[in-house]
Symmetry: C2
Subunit: 153 residues, 2 copies
């Protein structure tokens, strides 16, 4: 019946703005056939791709990385449930890591709330590696520098 979707339909179904879908296509994350009149027609499997993209973003993964991941899907045949499962599994570790980090941050924050310190000298939050470095009194902040904006709240 409806073999393919227009961009409006894909947008409605996925909840992703048309402009975003076009953007994803430019980045090579999704793909569309064209009608004679140059309009996009999406295979229904693209819905799953869009799903994967949005879910991955929630995990805090950049579009660039998502593209790389999607590139590992078989292009010859339609990806199977197993393919998708394997792909999702790779995010699992990331997610665990992020959860652990936030958990540590919370515990540390609790400790700091207890002592009201936020102290450069002692606070574990501020001093994750316990790096009370070399010159003069006072420690250095050794938190990793962030790259890019924080993940979607």
């Amino acid at each position: 019946m409806h073999e393919s979707l227009t961009i409006g339909q894909l947008s409605a179904r996925s909840g992703v703005a048309q402009s975003a879908l076009r953007y994803y296509e430019r980045l090579g994350l999704i793909h569309a056939e064209r009608t004679g009149g140059n309009q996009r027609r999406y295979a229904r499997t693209e819905l799953r791709r869009v799903a994967f993209i949005r879910i991955s973003q929630q995990v805090g993964i950049s579009l660039e990385e998502i593209r790389t991941a999607l590139d590992s899907l078989p292009s010859s045949r339609a990806p199977s449930p197993d393919d998708w499962a394997a792909l999702s599994r790779t995010w699992r570790e990331r997610l665990d890591e992020r959860i652990k980090l936030l958990g540590k941050l919370r515990d540390d924050l609790d400790g700091c709330i207890g002592c009201g310190c936020l102290s450069l000298q002692r606070c574990t939050l501020y001093n994750p590696g316990d790096t009370l470095a070399g010159e003069g009194p006072g420690a250095r902040l050794v938190l990793p520098r962030r790259d890019g904006p924080p993940p979607p709240a």
Copy 2:
């Protein structure tokens, strides 16, 4: 001895780039006195402010919100440990929320890995509110948009 810090010293101690410190100052997050020759001299309490800023960012809070929070500190006297503790406590809830969200995402992802679905029809990840909306087959994605208006219906 060292009553105040130069920007270079604050940067080294906090691990925050000088350009970032100047940027924070423009946004009103930190403050510096000036020498006769117009150079910044930071009170040592600014170290704690910078600490709070970086920790808050890790929790996923924007500089704008951090500024608002910092504005609630007493300006007449130097903030006490209790002041800092109270401030940190306000982030606690945020942090819990984010952790819970990621936990749910992980569980859902596990479920999806199990079934390999990422299905628009059934997947809880994709269908958090179970909103299998009105027209035609297939569900809508009802994940909250990251910001800005919802998709044009």
